[in-house]
Structures are given as structure tokens and as C-alpha cells.
């Protein structure tokens, strides 16, 4: 059985031969991670995340010739996805920042978890964490998602976000401080 083509081989086929089958294979390979990343960035708005993911891959197709393989292909896709999300977030600023002043009530998570019955503590914390992520600024949320959820180094996150490494570290630190304040009830 032939071994599957590497990303680099598929990219070469797309660039040299305009091979759409090769690009479809790249989309199939990376759609899950890109959509998951955008779902995190959009705070769980799946429809918006999928629209942005589609935009991401169309932009990737148009700009694949400019991909110099300085970073992994997935990291390059995260960069495009994050830029798409930031551009969209600027348009939807009011919507995205709508809930920033809302503290997560101590009993809110408890009620949710109680209603669900068999929700584990982790699942309840995960839900509260997702809500808490909404209070972060765009930069802080993007930095947390890239460094934790996409498991990138600070340097890779800096490439994805187009920011200096120091700024990424600051965003992560501030983001965690805000999360800590929002999720204070879980500290005990």
C-alpha cells in the first residue's frame, strides 16, 4: 500500500499542476483543527466558525504560491484563520464584547451542572471556562487559544498572530489573570 503524500508533496502538486484533488486532500486533513481553532476563537459559534474556516481555505488556495514553508502548513493555516477571525471580529465588535461586564455568577455553573445531572466537575469547569473566555480581549483570547489549544510555542503563536513574542506572552499572562478572576469560585 502506498504511503500517503506529505503536506509538502500535496502543496507542490497544487502549486505546480493546479491540482484540486491534492488541495481537497489538504482540506480534509486540516479541516478539523482549523474549525476547532475557530470554534474556540468564536466562543463556540459553530456556524460562524465554519464560515470563517471556509474563507480560510479559499484564501489558502489563492495564496499557496506565497507559502514559503518557513512554518508548518497547519501553523500557516492558523495564521490565515486568525486573521479572518480578527477581521470579522472588528466588524462584529459590539456583538463580541456584549457580555464583557458579566461576571459569571458563582451559582450559574453549579445550576448548569446540577441540571445536567451527571456532568462531571471537569465538564462544568469546561463550560465556565468557555464563558470566561468571552471576557478576554481579541488578542488575549487568540494568544490563549494558540498557546494552549493549538499547542504552539510562543514563537509560533507570535508568527500566527503577527505580534512580537513579548506581546504574546503579555496577552497570555493578562488573559490568565482575567480567567482567574472570572473563575475564582473554582479556585477552592
Amino acid at each position: 500500500m502506498a504511503s500517503p503524500d506529505t503536506d509538502a508533496a500535496l502543496i507542490a502538486r497544487v502549486v505546480v499542476n493546479d491540482d484540486r484533488h491534492a488541495f481537497a486532500e489538504l482540506v480534509r486533513r486540516h479541516q478539523s483543527t482549523v474549525r476547532a481553532c475557530l470554534r474556540k476563537l468564536t466562543a463556540g459559534n459553530h456556524a460562524l466558525a465554519d464560515d470563517l474556516a471556509q474563507e480560510t481555505f479559499v484564501l489558502a488556495w489563492r495564496n499557496l504560491k506565497s507559502f514559503r514553508q518557513e512554518a508548518r502548513f497547519s501553523t500557516w493555516l492558523y495564521r490565515i484563520a486568525t486573521n479572518c477571525w480578527l477581521a470579522d471580529a472588528r466588524k462584529r465588535k459590539e456583538e463580541l464584547l456584549g457580555d464583557t461586564d458579566t461576571e459569571i455568577a458563582d451559582d450559574e455553573g453549579r445550576d448548569d451542572s446540577a441540571a445536567a445531572g451527571d456532568f462531571s466537575r471537569d465538564a462544568a469547569l469546561k463550560m465556565d471556562l468557555e464563558k470566561a473566555m468571552r471576557v478576554l480581549s481579541d488578542g488575549e483570547r487568540a494568544a490563549i487559544v494558540q498557546c494552549y489549544h493549538n499547542d504552539l510555542t510562543h514563537e509560533e503563536a507570535a508568527y500566527v498572530l503577527g505580534l512580537p513574542v513579548g506581546t504574546v506572552k503579555t496577552h497570555v499572562l493578562r488573559g490568565k489573570q482575567k480567567l482567574k478572576a472570572q473563575l475564582g469560585a473554582w479556585q477552592q
Binding site: 493546479d18 482540506v27 479541516q31 476547532a36 468557555e130 489549544h149 503563536a157 482567574k180
Partner: protein, 119 residues
């Protein structure tokens, strides 16, 4: 995990983020037609240039040049004669002829490259 700027009191938050990140990493999102949707949204493919196009273009230019010479022999001779007379009348040096030939060659090759371009 790469973002481990932890303080002792932040361990619970680190753990929470780690649990969330782990579940994120292991949650595969089914394609469910997504790839097909993306492929449908791509700009339409350009018509590929057929292999026979280049030789046909070259042959047509050749036929046109030969046809012009056959149809207007006197004109071609007159133009050649006038050009030669003009050239002879000039006080030209070998380097000038070299430059003229280079310019002529460059022009010819540029025109050929333009005529035979892919798109």
C-alpha cells in the same frame, strides 16, 4: 503545553486549561461535506493550454511571413534594399552593429516569448 508561565497559585487554572486543551485536541470534527463546500467555493479553474497550441502558433507565424514574402516580393526586396542603403550610408562601427543586432535579437525573442506565453 507551551504556555507555562505559572505561579504556584495558578496551578488549578493551568490544569483547567490543560483539560480543556486536551479535549479540544482529541475532538475530531467530522468533515460532513465541509471539504466539498470549500472546493465548490474555490475560483473556477483556468482552461489548460492544449499541447498543440505552441507548434500551431509557430507554424502560423511562419506561414504568414512566407506568404508576405511571396505575395509582395518587390516590397520585401525594396524594404531590404532601402534598409541596406540606410545602413551603408551610416557611419557605423562594429560595436554599433553589435548593439543593433543585440537589440534586434532581444526584440525578436521578446515577441516570440510573448506569442508563446502559456496564459
Amino acid at each position: 503545553m507551551n504556555a507555562s508561565d505559572t505561579h504556584g497559585s495558578d496551578d488549578w487554572l493551568e490544569a483547567a486549561l490543560r483539560v480543556d486543551a486536551d479535549s479540544h485536541a482529541h475532538a475530531y470534527i467530522d468533515d460532513a461535506g465541509f471539504t466539498a463546500k470549500v472546493m465548490g467555493a474555490l475560483p473556477p479553474a483556468m482552461e489548460p493550454v492544449p499541447r498543440w497550441r505552441k507548434p500551431v502558433v509557430v507554424a502560423m507565424w511562419g506561414v504568414a511571413a512566407a506568404g508576405a514574402c511571396v505575395a509582395m516580393p518587390q516590397f520585401a526586396i525594396d524594404v531590404g534594399r532601402e534598409a541596406f542603403a540606410l545602413l551603408v550610408a551610416q557611419r557605423v562601427s562594429i560595436p554599433t552593429i553589435g548593439v543593433a543586432l543585440a537589440v534586434l535579437g532581444f526584440g525578436t525573442w521578446s515577441a516570440a516569448a510573448y506569442a508563446l506565453r502559456n496564459d
